[in-house]
Amino acid sequence: MNLDLKQDFFALFALPRRYAIDAVTLDTAWRALAAEVHPDRFASAPDAERRDALMLATRVNEAYQTLRKPVNRARYLLQLAGVDTQEETNTRMPVDFLMAQLAWRETLEAAREASDIDALEALLSEIRADTRELEAALEDAIDTRGELEEGALLVRKLRFLEKIEQETGDAIEALLY
């Protein structure tokens, strides 16, 4: 459908194109749109119509997944503004951030070795608290001050945090099961 391909994800859900969005508004807009185009609405329709519904519903879900998660939303917003977040290519990081990363990695390794679930849980809360801080910084950098390159750096940092959060979670899971 033309409409979908031309419109950006913010416009699709009738949201202003900015980092700070209202989660409830997004959820509601997504549900309304998903309800319109979900393939189940076309379960008894001919194949071609079902394929179209599948395509539209996929697009709507992609838009929702992109906007729902702060780091994805920021990356997308920057991309719309023509700023590449360079997550695969740019590995330059401030020294203090790298030191903090190193410390976390050591904590993770030690806790994993010692099968210390409490330490892993504590690390997880710490990572999540830092994630929230960086997300707040994104709003300030992108929405308030329009510093897009700074936003790109924050996205790169969040990507690091995402990975270590995942690994910590996996370590907890591995110990539980």
Binding site: E36, V37, P39, D40, P46, A57, T58, N61, E62, L176
Partner: protein
């Protein structure tokens, strides 16, 4: 692109008569069929008033096939030809079935999916399941007095692509049109949700004969949203029977039993387990083939002791599901219990303790899945156009690709709302490389060897370039049934390759066609007439939809566009009145093409209306 039939609340796009639709719970141990009659879902019993159909199929000496109680009654006497719990083998190879050595079957290790040697030849689990589905279909059609237009079949949420595809293939063999594969826990939540009109976050604990499923669902204003799902595809009530069986062997000092004795003792074990639901002990007696007598008493306490590790094991997927949904135990408003095995008192206690609240058990745990499936089938068949509720399901397992060094790269993480598509770009790593092999995997583990292989395909014809210059975009699409298709495209030249992940377990389309032909040979069914009927029904629904669309949105077309649509409409009507199947299909396709631009504009308009918070009925 074709005309979209947009059904708005309070406005059915194409008014029609009530369509016969049913929900089928194709279970490991028992299967059921249910339908919605005069607004409420009911399980359809057989002629003797029994709701359950044991999922047992026996191939008889005279070439007939017995399904259900008749087959179950003979399973101890004829274990090689009586297939129990075929669902556990769906889409599985022999290597996947760890308990195979303890089972009384003559397995045949076919590529991808195991088969069982019977006197009627080698039978795949798909064929066995199709026999069960045929029996349910016959029951439903006798009871409803007409042909079923569509069914919803439930599968464990944890079923992977091969298992889902195998289920759909079984339905095809049974001559059923599948409106949707529905995850069992979701079906249960639908049954409970609609009964109680509840909002909030719920957990579903579904312990069936062979599988455990745990799902976390959120109900908000008519939307059932699956937040996460987890489970164990090889843990179920049968394992409890097996523990009792092992205990029987140990207590009686038995070993090396014949298939017949094994079956007999497993049956006694199941009876004892069921007896212990509301008794403190169960007496188990059996006479083996050699005359040896078994006479033991199993107490509740011993039973709990020998099955404790199983009960504990069922708690793990629960933790996983909560973690994936990013919620705490205390956020759960209610816990729905599904599956006959949840009658085991130790299970109810463990679940109650875990969530710190007694689980919901007011619907029959054996029937709740079929009831939910029936409700969903009724909606999907279009019998409830005025009801605005929707089911948003997730993919249970992560999807990925093999990368260098036998590692998996995840493309779509588990618990992503369906339908979903993800694209990823790859490049060549050798100068002049013209082909690329793509290996699609499903699972959570990092090593390829630990994941399930869904299929491999080769993208060839890449124009020779220096290493790293080609840009290959691979797109994964998972539809609402949880089935995957993958396509790849070289960006600079547009070379394309795609696969349906169908042949992953060794059953090709051709094999299915052969099986279909075989099974049809025994049925007095006029295929040609049926094809024509189907074509006419499809064409008529398209004609009706076009008319309804023209009535509501005709203003979107200019004069010449309108004339083209009208001409195609007339041609389709003429063809539908005739008896030439091909002509009907061609005219319908032409009509569909003629309405393409119209459909596009209507969808635009419709989306804009939705966004403004209005629906067509209000405008």
């Amino acid at each position: 692109m074709a005309l979209l039939q947009i059904a708005e609340p309070g406005l059915s796009a194409a008014p029609h008569q009530h369509r016969l639709a049913a929900g089928i719970d194709l279970g490991t141990t028992n299967s059921l069929v249910a339908t919605v009659r005069s607004g409420s879902a009911t399980v359809l019993p057989d002629s003797e008033g029994r709701s359950l159909l044991p999922s047992v199929v026996r191939y008889l000496e005279d070439g007939r096939v017995a399904v259900g109680y008749a087959a179950q009654a003979e399973q101890s006497h004829d274990p090689h030809n009586t297939i129990v719990s075929a669902k556990r083998f769906m889409g599985r190879s022999l290597a996947d079935i760890s308990e195979a050595p303890t089972l009384p079957y003559r397995f045949v290790d076919a590529p991808g999916m195991v088969g069982v040697q019977t006197r009627a030849g080698c039978k795949s689990p798909v064929e066995v399941s199709a026999e069960i589905l045929k029996a349910l279909r016959a029951r439903a059609e006798a009871s409803l007095g007409g042909e079923l237009t569509g069914v919803v079949i439930t599968v464990p949420a944890y079923f992977d692509d091969a298992q889902r595809q195998a289920t759909k293939d079984a339905a095809r063999l049974a001559g059923l049109s599948v409106l949707r594969l529905l995850n069992e826990p979701t079906a249960a939540a639908i049954a409970y949700g609609l009964d109680n009109g509840a909002e909030g976050t719920y957990a579903v604990y579904d312990l069936g004969g062979g599988t455990l499923d745990v799902s976390i669902l959120r109900l908000t204003r008519g939307v059932f949203e699956v937040l996460s799902t987890s489970g164990d595809a090889s843990l179920g009530g049968d394992d409890f029977d097996h523990r009792i069986y092992c205990w029987l062997l140990a207590e009686s000092g038995l070993s090396g039993l014949s298939a017949q004795d094994t079956r007999l003792l497993l049956t006694r074990a199941r009876e004892a387990k069921e007896h212990l639901t509301d008794h403190s002990s169960a007496r188990i007696t059996a006479i083996l083939a050699d005359g040896q007598a078994v006479d033991l008493t199993l107490t509740q306490e011993t039973f709990n002791q020998i099955t404790r590790t199983l009960v504990d094991k069922t708690m793990l997927p629960m933790r996983k599901a909560l973690r994936d949904a990013r919620i705490e135990r205390t956020d759960i408003r209610g816990v729905v219990m599904v599956g006959g095995a949840t009658r085991i008192p130790a299970i109810q206690k463990a679940v109650g303790d875990f969530f710190d609240q007694p689980p919901l058990t007011n619907l029959d745990p054996d029937k709740v899945v079929a009831l939910g499936a029936a409700i969903q089938a009724n909606v999907l068949a279009g019998n409830k156009a005025g009801d605005d509720w929707l089911l948003l399901d997730v993919n249970p397992l992560s999807l990925g690709l093999e990368t260098m060094g036998g590692l998996t790269e995840k493309i779509i993480p588990r618990n992503t709302t369906l339908p979903v598509a993800r694209a990823q770009e790859f490049t060549t790593f050798k100068d002049g490389q013209t082909a690329m092999s793509i290996h699609v995997l499903q699972g959570e583990r990092e090593l390829v060897a630990d994941c399930r292989s869904l299929g491999r395909f080769v993208l060839s014809g890449i124009p020779p370039m220096v290493a790293g210059a080609a840009r290959i975009r691979i797109t994964f699409q998972i539809d609402a049934d949880g089935l995957l298709s993958v396509s790849a495209r070289e960006q600079t030249t547009g070379v394309e390759a795609s696969i349906q992940i169908k042949p992953s377990y060794g059953l090709t389309d051709e094999a299915i066609s052969t099986m279909l032909a075989d099974s049809l040979a025994n049925v007095q069914d006029d295929i040609q007439a049926r094809k024509l009927r189907e074509a006419v029904v499809d064409a008529e629904s398209l004609i009706e939809a076009t008319r309804a669309a023209l009535a509501s949105d005709g203003d979107l077309l200019d004069q010449s566009e309108r004339a083209r649509v009208d001409a195609a409409l007339e041609a389709a009507e003429r063809a539908a009145a005739g008896e030439d199947t091909r002509a009907v299909n061609e005219a319908a396709a032409a009509l569909s093409r003629a309405t393409d631009p119209f459909a596009e504009r209507r969808m635009d308009r419709n989306i804009q209306r939705a966004l403004k918070g209005h629906n067509i009925a209000e405008l």
